[in-house]
Symmetry: C2
Subunit: 341 residues, 2 copies
DNA sequence: CTATGAAGCGAAAACGATTTCGACACGAGA
DNA sequence: TCTCGTGTCGAAATCGTTTTCGCTTCATAG
């Protein structure tokens, strides 16, 4: 004697309209073989009854969820809190939603039961995955990437999948060239872990030096880590204690710059009086601190949008869509942290 | 002549084990009426065959998704990018995952078709919703909150649902008392929009003044906005141009503080030499800028964890679980932005 | 020896949609 | 008149699970 459970189904509509469920389904999905008036009637009453389709049922039948997974891991707790990635995620979410897809997070366990990323994806039946800010050498990631599930990676290139990258080579080139244009010759480069991002930036950096006839000085190139102010402080101190210290220091990201700045301050050095600095990312806060940071702004929103769009395209034309490397460029945000010398 | 579609189902296991699908299902769900050896055999082969349950089917049958929705709206584009909220989200995600729930974003439209938040939730069949950082007067939010779906709100209290809040009254009280303890009497308070968060802070602020025998000065209480550096600059200028300016300014959040600081700097005022400042939030960056900000640190991680835990609890004991207001307290982060006078 | 009950398992009906295939009516061409 | 195509629609199978209820056994109490 159970009454309606609150949710209205396709069957309720069929009853009310005096047609079969098949007809309702077809009308709602704009099939061609339903009389226009019938279809309109059905759609109208569906609206009136506040019908909302049951994703689970649809998913079960069609084996697609209109749902995409995201893998954003916070190595070192900067994770979501890092504005670059949260900017990307936010934009991706908006774009995906516009295209009819929802976003759910993919983790490496669910309910205490550990599962691989791939299993989690299968479990949730996501149609595709967006991967960013993870350790791309993780076997779990590799498994996922090679599974055949549509995947877009961000800032890292596999050859089996499409990826979208901030144009790191161009960015480093532009930034370095800018510094050279301001008269700098002794340019230090603190870079992040040796990922492809770092490699591309190094290429851009070296190319800029070369194009301006400057010979690279190994001592000025030091390894730091992304988003690690502490590491950045150490690198900064090392550089400034060199017998012939650089006139400008480039940081791997704005967050690292903050660390560097506190060290410079501690050493009694002023920016840009004693040494100039440049960042990378262009997070909002970088324009509010003093000195206002000269930095290369990565267009996180655009990256997010493009990633989502490309992923959906891959999902919907899985056979014809070939892997592609999309790069989105940013621009220099000119602050007051670089002196003209 | 279709072969297995790659995914192994309960039926495949039943065939392999020579039992019925019902038995498999029961074994997997730890029902009592299956012989231990049978159950173990089934679970073992399930593992071997890499069985992963089909959520859609389960969801269809049980009408629960083990999936919770989150509503994080970025009014003014600070959204996810704001570390306080992304910190909450991140922690909530981790905790939910630990409890066996995934998280998907809820928006106000899907695939171009506008739908209410509630409809979106029904569409995705989420078991509950976490709401934060939205306009709580939005009819769509009200509809959702009163729909009977388990809901947890963050930093805002409805009486029909549980909410978890940073203890704003206590925080404002503690921070104000701290300032008084440092000798300040002329304390300005730039506050955010008149939400309940703001109201509680005002109560804490006034109570602290009263407890220390200071009479509140209306001119020192000015309305700003959360996370709006520009608005904050204006308020700062207004305050400092008063005939009898305050000796310390409290900002509604650390981000607003950054705006205020740039204005002070522009006016040629030094912090804390000419005027002291205090923030609210305790985002990481606040401890890297100079002067190091004295601020009230809200425990975003704890708020996220508690929210997710309480939501799951509400979902799983919908009848017995009564609405509750949970407050999680933070602590003062003592920086160098407040002078002793 | 029979009645009883528990323990272990399976048949089958859902859940709400999609989709194939056939049924039926009707107008037109032969 | 008969056939045939076309335009509309419905029956029914199906997706993978959960869950109820009944059917066997078999041991034990009577």
């Amino acid at each position: 004697m159970e009454k309606r459970k609150g949710t209205v189904t396709i069957k309720d509509i069929s009853r009310k309209c005096g047609v079969s469920v098949s007809t309702v389904s077809k009308a709602l999905n704009h099939y061609g073989d339903i009389a226009p008036e019938t279809a309109e009637l059905i759609r109208q009453t569906a609206r009136e009854m506040h019908y909302v389709p049951n994703t689970a049922a649809r998913q079960l039948k069609t084996n697609t969820s209109h749902n995409i997974g995201v893998l954003f891991v916070d190595e070192m707790n900067s994770g979501l809190a890092h504005e670059y990635f949260s900017g990307i995620l936010d934009a991706a979410r908006a774009e995906a939603e516009r295209l009819g897809y929802d976003i759910t997070f993919i983790g490496k366990n669910i309910g205490g039961k550990p599962m691989t990323y791939l299993e989690h994806c299968q479990y949730r039946k996501v149609d595709g995955v967006l991967i960013a800010n993870v350790d791309f050498s993780d076997p779990g990631i590799i498994e996922l990437v090679t599974s055949g599930l549509p995947v877009i990676t961000i800032d890292y290139a596999f050859d089996s999948t499409s990826c979208v990258m901030s144009d790191n080579m161009e960015g480093a080139y532009a930034l370095t060239s800018y510094l050279i244009g301001r008269g700098h010759r002794k340019i230090a480069f603190i870079h992040g872990e040796r990922t492809s991002v770092t490699n591309k930036r190094l290429v851009g950096f070296n190319r800029a030096l070369k194009d301006h006839g400057i010979v690279p000085d190994d001592r000025y190139i030091v390894q730091g880590r992304f988003h690690d102010p502490q590491k950045s402080r150490e690198a900064t101190r090392y550089l400034m204690e060199l017998p012939d210290p650089p006139t400008v220091i480039m940081y791997p990201d704005d967050f690292s710059y903050i660390g560097g700045m506190t060290e410079l301050e501690k050493m009694g050095l002023s920016v840009p009086g004693d040494v100039s600095t440049a960042g990378y990312d262009g997070i909002p806060i970088s324009q509010f601190i003093r000195p206002r940071l000269t930095t290369y702004h990565q267009d996180a929103a655009q990256i997010g949008r493009v990633s989502a769009a490309k992923l959906v395209e891959t999902i919907e034309n899985k056979k014809t869509c070939i892997p592609e490397e999309i790069s989105v460029s940013g621009h220099i945000l000119e602050g007051t942290s670089v002196a003209e010398i």
